[in-house]
């Protein structure tokens, strides 16, 4: 695997989420970026899991979309920012969707709220007919 060499600090990479296999590819890309950024084992696992939840939502609920991985360099701190976006139906009631156990499908309904708890910053931009964009950030060394 040459994944580990792909991202220099400050670099941005993106990945289309169109098929089931892309979920795996997305996870691999986030793992490679997290290793490269210097995250510890627990932080890495949390970030990849959060990404996995959101990329799956993008595919399952949003009909597919895009993952953008952005390597943040100091100042102020080193970190990783992921933007997961789709042009799907959007979420009518985002506050409800964030509550654990709320699912309109066959999921456990812990994805959105869980992902929020696993990262340092979480922004959800959505609305009926507007698609869904989630931006998550985790800083190295916390």
């Amino acid at each position: 695997m040459t994944d580990r060499e792909v991202m220099a600090p400050g670099q941005v990479s993106s990945l289309q989420i169109r098929a089931e296999e892309d979920l795996l590819a997305a996870r691999h890309a986030v793992r490679a970026a997290a290793l490269e950024a210097g995250f510890g084992l627990v932080a890495q696992t949390k970030l990849i899991t959060a990404a996995s939840e959101l990329v799956r939502n993008c595919y399952v609920h949003g009909g597919g979309g895009e993952l953008v991985i952005e390597r943040l360099v100091p100042p102020p701190r080193a970190g990783l920012r992921l933007t997961i976006s789709d042009d799907g139906p959007g979420i009518v009631d985002p506050d409800a969707a964030l509550v654990d156990g709320y699912s309109t499908g066959h999921g456990l309904g812990h994805g959105l709220g869980g992902a929020k708890r696993l990262v340092d910053e979480f922004h959800l931009d959505t609305g009926p007919g507007r698609g869904t964009t989630v931006v998550i950030t985790r800083w190295v060394g916390r």
């Binding site: 627990v42 696992t45 869980g114």
Partner: protein, 124 residues
């Protein structure tokens, strides 16, 4: 070896399955089918799912593990999930998930010992 690419070994009345690094949708479904078929034909009393290799358990994978445990339980077999990595345990709890109804063990060895004790309780 099975059609799901997840090896299932037989140890007396125990089936031992070693999950791989990743658990995707298709593999999971094939594996669950194959496993329940074997539990039934072999008359297995217990299933040990070795998840030592599994690096990420998101809510999708957690659901699969609980569904496999439920399926085996309905067939009359116990299921023990063994060898969860500690970052995975920390992350699952933060996700708000706790694998209800699933027994756990530190390792496959612990699981097999636990299953060989006649007085071993059924729930974690």
């Amino acid at each position: 070896m099975t059609s799901s690419e997840i090896p299932i070994l037989r140890l007396g009345k125990i089936l031992l399955a070693g999950l791989l690094k990743e658990l995707d949708d298709k593999t999971a479904v094939l594996f669950a089918d194959e496993l329940s078929r074997q539990v039934s034909t072999v008359g297995a009393e217990a299933v040990v799912l070795d998840i030592t290799k599994l690096e990420i358990v998101d809510s999708f994978a957690a659901r699969i593990l609980v569904e496999i445990a439920t399926m085996a339980r309905l067939l009359g077999a116990r299921v023990v999930v063994a060898g969860m990595r500690y970052p995975v345990a920390i992350t699952l709890v933060e996700l708000g998930l706790d694998l209800p109804g699933v027994e756990t063990a530190l390792s496959v060895e612990h699981a097999v010992n636990m299953l060989s004790q006649p007085g071993g309780s059924r729930d974690g």
